[in-house]
């Protein structure tokens, strides 16, 4: 229950960016997730962004080992995990050093002073104590001896030092919950669930959380607390969901809707692994998840499963997509439906495994031998991963073709408030299953509107046939090396993917339908682009935005949109892949580009600045 004896005044805020930062063993991801739960319970809209190193436990106390979790929560609609933090929790000097640049100049910074000792400064690369050299002037620094007080809080429980200190993240969480007038109840319930078998640990965490909360209430450094009212969201039932879980669930939904068995062949790779884990967790829905020996076996098992009539998919990241190229070609040639999910990360090669990027677009569009077009779609938010996975499945089976679904590390690990849909309202999926003993069946006869062939599933009487990677004779599907046949089949495969444009929605424009400046983006940058554009619109600027989810084929009205603007600025987290794709498709227009390749998302502020400079150029 809320403590009504609060002495500090409460300040109302629209939205807040909160960042937890600590050593990668300090439990910052969990702390962040628990705060997210409390934000959900309070009815806020929110988005989160975990930012952690590739090493499981990088050297303790170093900048390389800092793990962060950012949450942006609000009374207003939240589309991004936020630029700069209003509140930073820094569990050690290294985390302060690593994250201060992502913190607002007036921010509240909560530090564990017990870690601010010579050894800590040295490891973090500080010459002296940053808490005492005036470098934090202007910030509201809350100095808390978190380690010491944590040990004290559990003194009576007779835990050894190491175990006791494990819950110091909960002390920090307690401080933050006080700061935002949140209840402890939900978090305590979590401890009871999580450590059911270990009541001492439940008690320890509860005591430490309460100790943090009480500490905050009593110290002078906290002169006011904050309240963020519930967001005004559409009526419905909500939950918190990460992009990877949403992706996995989208496929489960598509399997149920289509009546097909779900099959995933996948090899663990950051940041896509959670999709595989999530599907292995839900065997009760009949999904078969096969952890293959490598990326190639992941997709090839999926092709085998697709041949037998399963809704088949494979999940990976950029390096894995490279390994799957040849097999995607096989799926193109055999015209079997599969969905390939690429959770993009920083590249090339191993690149930045835990950081996000949009640099696999060329690979998705062009990275195969021969003329091998596939459908490419890109999820635009963590929540949209659910709908994109569903739609990728629908397009794959109805059009009998591989589909590449691009998400990215930020969407995958980031979480959002998700309005739970009802399955009855999801679109119907109709796989073109061939009928037993159909005397007219031939493997490569096509339907008129989609040019898709029929799906003849082993076990079905009267439809025995062979398919494979060699070129097919039009209609019969027999092996053919005939030159004209190859030309025809190449054109058919191209046209088949082109016609998908008749089955996807038209591209929407936010802002005016025509004007001076159109900003263009695609995939995971939707939230940040929208926030920046909405801000400019609210400030009275004239600017329009087109954010693409359907990449190949592009929506039919794409050129209609482009031609109505004098300047087109394409913003993406790569070196200019989508802009070049547009230049190739629609060369008549004047494109400018804005690119960032740092393994980090765009910040709203940098987009705003760029947009304003373009608007000013246009005027002058």
């Amino acid at each position: 229950m809320m403590d009504n004896t609060k002495k500090n005044p409460i300040v109302e805020l629209d939205n807040v960016v909160l960042r937890f930062a600590g050593d990668s063993g300090d439990g910052m991801q969990l702390t962040g997730a628990l705060f997210s739960d409390s934000a959900a319970f309070a009815g806020n809209d929110f988005a989160t962004f975990p930012d952690y190193p590739a090493e499981i436990r990088a050297p303790q106390g170093t900048v390389a080992g800092v793990s962060g979790f950012q949450i942006h929560f609000g009374h207003t609609n939240i589309h991004t995990s936020g630029d700069l933090a209003d509140v930073l929790v820094a569990m050690n000097p290294a985390s302060l050093k690593a994250t201060l640049k992502w913190t607002k100049p007036s921010a509240t910074i909560i530090v564990d002073t017990d870690t601010f000792i010579d050894k800590g400064f040295e490891k973090a690369g500080y010459a002296g104590n940053p808490l005492e050299d005036n470098s934090l002037d202007g910030y509201n620094v809350i100095k808390a001896p978190i380690s010491m007080l944590t040990k004290k809080a559990v003194e009576e429980l007779d835990l050894d030092n190491k175990v006791a200190l494990k819950s110091k993240n909960m002390f920090a969480l307690g401080i933050v919950l006080y700061l935002f007038n949140r209840e402890l109840e939900k978090t305590n319930e979590y401890f009871e669930r999580k450590f059911k078998k270990n009541p001492v640990i439940v008690e320890a965490n509860k005591r430490v959380l309460r100790a943090g909360f009480n500490f905050a209430e009593n110290i002078e450094a906290i002169s006011q607390t904050y309240n963020v009212q519930p967001a005004i969201l559409e009526k419905g039932t909500y939950r918190n969901i990460t992009g990877n879980v949403a992706t996995a669930w989208g496929f489960l939904a598509a399997a149920e809707k289509s009546g097909l068995q779900l099959f995933l062949g996948s090899y663990p790779i950051t940041p896509a692994t959670e999709i595989l884990q999530e599907l292995t967790k839900h065997k009760e829905l009949g999904a078969k998840a096969f952890q293959a020996e490598d990326e190639i076996a992941g997709i090839c098992s999926s092709i085998g499963a697709s041949y037998t009539g399963s809704l088949a998919l494979t999940t990976t990241s950029g390096p894995g997509l490279s390994l799957k190229s040849e097999a995607i070609g096989l799926a193109v040639m055999t015209e079997l439906p599969i969905v390939i999910v690429d959770v993009q990360r920083g590249g090339p090669s191993t690149g930045l495994p835990t950081k996000s990027e949009q640099s696999d677009l060329y690979q998705a569009l062009f990275g195969r031998n021969g003329e091998a077009p596939v459908i490419v779609i890109a999820a635009i938010t963590s929540e949209d991963c659910f709908y994109s996975a569903f739609e990728a499945s629908k397009l794959a089976v109805e059009h009998m073709t591989p589909v590449i679904l691009l998400t990215d590390g930020a969407l995958a690990n980031g979480s959002e408030v998700f309005r739970i849909p009802k399955m009855a309202q999801m679109p119907i999926i109709t796989p073109p299953i061939a009928k037993a003993n159909d005397p007219l069946y031939k493997p490569y006869l096509r339907n008129e509107d989609k040019l898709s062939r029929q799906w003849a599933v082993p076990g079905t009487e009267g439809l025995r046939h062979r398919i494979g990677g060699l070129e097919k004779e039009n209609g019969s599907g027999n092996v053919s090396h005939d030159p004209m046949n190859h030309q025809i089949m190449t054109q058919i495969r191209e046209e088949k993917v082109k016609r998908v444009a008749n089955f996807i929605p038209e591209q929407k424009v936010i802002g005016a339908e025509e004007g001076d400046v159109l900003v263009v983006s695609w995939g995971g940058t939707y939230g940040v682009m929208l926030t920046a554009v909405e801000k400019l619109l609210a400030d009275g600027h004239t600017i329009s935005m087109a954010h693409f989810k359907y990449i190949n084929p592009l929506p039919k009205n794409t050129e209609e949109i482009l031609k109505k603007f004098k300047k087109i600025l394409v913003c993406e987290l790569n070196n200019g892949q989508f802009v070049n794709y547009l230049r190739m498709k629609f060369p008549a227009y004047n494109y400018q580009q804005y690119n960032k390749v740092q393994g980090l998302p765009f910040m709203v502020s940098e987009l705003e600045e760029k947009f304003i400079s373009i608007l000013n150029d246009q005027k002058s």
Binding site: D37, A40, F41, G43, P230, E234, K235, G236, T237, Y238, R239, W249, L252, E256, L260, Q261, F263, H282, K283, E284, L285, G286, K288, F290, A292, E293, D294, I296, A297, C300, S301, S302, I303, G304, A305, S306, Y307, T308, G309, S310, A312, E326, A327, L330, T334, I420, P421, M423, V457, P458, G459, T460, E461, G462, R464, R466, I467, G468, G469, L470
Partner: protein
């Protein structure tokens, strides 16, 4: 889709060779060992008690991998080395299908080595025919991973430097539970062994010593030629002593930690001294030694060398899915979406 389909074996019409002959022109070289294997398979399939629609033949790339086009079944001609992965997907997705994989020493010992060892390790119920001609035929005569060291080929003009794989050793090392070896010159035995291999629940591998008439002619000649075969073939049968030879008087004994050849009647050796074949022994020790025997020091072991029963991957997966279905409160995607922590607005 057909997971719950139960097939009434009684009602499967009697199938014949004609049910499986495809209308495609067979394009292997005249005299190639593959023709004999195809003929044999056309005899095997009608004997299996499986509906003709339930066979799926999967291959990779290579001469052997053209096989699916020549059988009138469902089939996939895949990409190089990946047949094992494709076949795994077929079988796991629909365990009711009778899945056959046709591959060669290049396809499965080189480019597809990884998939090959893992399908064997997982014990997915797939019948694998490994055509071993010890050469790359389709690319016209380069050495393969089973080519004997020192062999002169297009890419080893001074003789190859590489130690070859012995498929049996590799399969058993990969936790293989069924391994048999046959020659393409004995179609009767090949047919019988293929039927046995298909009846075995789990991954079965039959190595077929197959002759490439163009690029490696007579590579298996010591084992297969009329004049020498009886002295160079040990045909294994479960529960029978290991006897071979033109005069049926040679045998295999275990001496210390290794096998030796003996002659019955010499040095006081009787039939009772010979090793008795036990393919079902889970301990692979003798099976590995039998697989490794090479002419001329030893006869080549043929027949079923190892056949050990254990759970298949797909059975364990099916069980774990049924268990989850019975025990989870989540029965549909709506339940899933509403599971865990949710809130109303």
């Amino acid at each position: 889709m057909t997971e719950d389909q139960h097939i009434d074996i009684q009602n499967i019409p009697q199938l014949t060779r004609e049910d499986f002959v495809s209308d495609q022109m067979v394009k292997w070289c005249p005299g190639c060992g593959d023709h004999a294997i195809l003929k044999s398979m056309e005899k095997v399939f009608p004997q299996m008690g499986v509906r003709k629609e339930d066979f799926v033949v999967v291959s990779g790339i290579g001469c052997s991998s053209r096989f699916p086009y020549y059988m009138n079944t469902y089939g996939i001609h895949g990409i190089h080395g990946r047949a094992a992965a494709i076949a795994s997907g077929v079988k796991i997705a629909n365990p009711n299908l009778s899945v056959w994989m046709i591959t060669g020493d290049g396809d499965s010992m080189a480019i597809g080595g990884n998939h090959f060892i893992h399908v064997v390790r997982r014990n997915i119920d797939i019948s694998i025919l490994l055509f071993n001609n010890k050469i790359y035929g389709l690319t016209k005569g380069q050495y393969s991973p089973t080519t004997p060291k020192g062999s002169i080929t297009k890419t080893s003009p001074q003789g190859s430097f590489e130690e070859p794989f012995n498929p049996g050793e590799l399969i058993i090392g990969a936790q293989g539970k069924f391994f048999a070896r046959v020659v393409d010159t004995n179609p009767k035995m090949m047919t019988d062994i293929l039927v046995e291999s298909a009846k075995h629940k789990g991954t079965s591998v039959v190595e077929i010593l197959q002759n490439c008439v163009i690029f490696n002619n007579k590579v298996h000649n010591l084992v297969t030629a009329k004049e020498t075969k009886d002295d160079n073939q040990l045909i294994l049968e479960a529960g029978k002593p290991m006897i071979y030879g033109a005069e049926n008087n040679k045998g295999i004994v275990l001496k210390g930690t290794r096998l030796e050849t003996v002659v019955i009647g010499e040095n006081g050796i009787t039939e009772a001294d010979l090793l008795v074949h036990d393919p079902a022994n889970p301990d692979p020790g003798i099976h590995v030694m039998l697989s490794k025997m090479q002419v001329p020091e030893f006869p080549m072991a043929l027949g079923i060398i190892r056949a050990v029963k254990t759970d298949t991957y797909e059975d364990l997966m099916t069980k774990s899915i049924s268990f989850a279905k019975q025990n989870s409160p989540i029965k549909c995607v709506d339940d899933l979406l509403m599971s865990g922590s949710t809130w109303e607005i």
